[in-house]
Homo-oligomer: 292 residues x 3
């Protein structure tokens, strides 16, 4: 399966539209997912981990379903914002260690699971549409980096985080070692990885893993409401911002500002930019279409 | 116009003096600025946005004047520290959207404004002299990245920040997407860009946009006093620090420490380093000349 | 002398074992150190700056001894965790400015000291074993970056930090300009470098220089206890984490997650990963061997 968003976002002059919908998906494309719940609600897609009885653990099937769901959300032109959350009382306990144990000492199957999951993570992190994460409960192990791929991360005030990899003799994955240093700095990343310190929801906000807390039981609902707001926003400008933030640490200042110039030039002369200017000058609320 | 500081600072062995004063400026070089106030005060230059009646918005002329002023400050060998602030009650409301609307759907003029402004930002960020920013009031849109290019950023306790690009259908520029992730991390950068959250002066300090608050109405005055202090400092060592911090995220550890070795070697054997050692050992205050 | 850890950690496919013990050290290798105290205590190495009467300043001999000690800790296969601290009431006052003054205006000797010290810093930062730093007292100048090379940094509640380079006409070294922006962001790094602001232990923790404070006089003792805990941990997984965090800012997301996949694949199919899975499933504490 092609995610369609696996190209890296380092600036290359003259190449603006990185995120092409994969054209090789049949129109009657059927998600047929068992481990992830995918719903389209008007202009948003809602992706929920859907194995609550087993703690929404990341198994082979969960990884495949996540990649399918993320790709569908990216490729559906009707979708202008995405929610990523989970059903049940917890977010995810991370890797399905019972399944991984059955893999034995041949790493091939584990590598396949990790690769597919990393494609799904990358797709959620870079698709040209805002992603709101609703952390409905405990996130452990690989559940932690799953919570990190959004632009806005809403966390249930009772949720907790624990990056328990080294407690099980494992090293972090899921993009933990890429995301955490850019979100919370090296020192706190080390504390999470080497000491498996548990974080409360409030600490997660203070440190920069999450954007803000929400009342108990409201993470999914609040994330959906916010995504509907984003879906009425300037989709192309949001896409530009996602692309540029993703590329930021790989670019020097002049390269990054050249990218900024190109993107603001395209956005300002596009439909939503023109609408934004008109609305600003006439002191009315803008009505964005999301088209270029 | 050549800024003279547009070269990137990634370490290249054997190449120490990146920042050469542009030699092609005539001696009688006349700034002749209308939108920016440029003053030299002993060994410091004071650059102030100077269109207070229109909110110090960034128009084409403002961008050109900023680049002229930044280049002059960089190239004047008498200048050993720079203040960047604004006249009037606000810092800057960002882009001159009325002018940009007149540009219509041809992005060429906007691109020119953005390019010149980005050169000015880069010049302020990388010139081999300390830059103190005084944020005298509200900074919105492109006014926000303008506040970020200094080594020390003093903010009026009543000032506020709002990165309002996406509210107008636009994507951020001015180096926002390069500077903010390095100052405050990805999560808070996303909150500013996607939700246009307003920040108070105190929050700006807590997050790392500004260094500290100053009493209402004193940002420019305090910035000038601090710049005079820096102008009596070890200019070459300050220049080394600026260069190395700018290059930091693009270098691996051994490359960065090779740069540190080269710079401390040059500084310690230079006049200010020798003076610093003498003063330290003799327990007196050093008198730095700023020369090599 | 070869540190054995000077290779950069950017991901290269198919190359997992970066950290080979240097095979060219004779078995009877004698550290014979005068300025650093090196002790092996069961499965940990304890490295202490050992010139307390002169403030543990960084002289030529101190740099050479630090590199010897760091290399020995890295290369001794019995060592599974390392403590880095100092004897006496302070951690380190930084460079031995009296010695540096004797070097005069020929930078060659200073460059040699800086290069050896930077190799030692790199070795502590990247060796495939956890490093716990115990900051027992004041860290000034080059003493500050010395405190930063660990995974966990414990700081005496009475300790203070001051990065005094520019006060002596010098630019920072020791990896300050690489480490600080990644730990505390650019703005606070600038404040430390340009204004030589003094930080308390509590501020150092809040900012992200240190992990947590410990009661007065207990930094070394607590660091030793924690290192013994790490020495019973999954050494290979810790090594993977160190390698990946070191490489993080130089890699894009897909490259970094490819590295994560490779490392978790190797760790899960290795002895400690298999033990970790068994222990997790059988709800018992794991017993890690540290071997692959």
């Amino acid at each position: 399966m092609a995610c369609g968003c696996s190209r890296e976002l380092i600036y290359r002059p003259g190449l603006r539209h990185y995120y092409r919908p994969a054209s090789n998906l049949p129109k009657e494309y059927n998600l047929n997912l068992t481990h992830v719940d995918y719903q389209r609600d008007q202009a948003i897609a809602v992706i929920c981990l859907n194995q609550p009885d087993s703690g929404n653990t990341l198994s082979r099937q969960m990884a495949l379903d996540l990649l399918s769901a993320a790709s569908e959300a990216q490729n559906d032109p009707q979708v202008r914002a995405v929610v990523f959350s989970a059903h049940g009382p917890m977010f995810s306990f991370g890797g399905d260690l019972k399944e991984f144990r059955r893999f034995g000492t041949n790493s091939e199957q584990l590598v396949t699971v990790a690769d597919r999951w990393h494609e799904a993570q990358h797709c959620l992190l870079t698709m040209p549409k805002p992603v709101v994460v609703g952390v409905n409960g405990i996130a452990a192990g690989g559940g932690v980096p799953m919570t990190l791929v959004g632009d806005i991360v809403l966390v249930d005030e009772t949720a907790r985080y624990r990056l328990a990899y080294t407690a099980a003799g494992l090293s972090p994955d899921g993009g933990s070692t890429w995301l955490l240093p850019r979100l919370i700095g090296l020192r706190r990343t080390q504390e999470l990885i080497f000491e498996n310190r548990e974080l409360s929801a409030i600490e997660a906000v203070e440190w920069g893993l999450a954007t803000r807390t929400v009342p108990q039981g409201t993470a999914l609902k609040t994330a959906i409401a916010l995504a509907h707001t984003f879906a009425k926003g300037p989709t192309q400008a949001f896409a530009s911002a996602r692309q540029m933030l993703h590329a930021s640490f790989g670019n020097d200042f002049m390269t990054q500002t050249a990218l900024e110039t190109r993107e603001i030039g395209a956005n300002m002369t596009g439909r939503d930019g023109q609408e934004g200017l008109e609305a600003f000058i006439n002191k009315r609320a803008p009505v964005f279409s999301g088209s270029q």
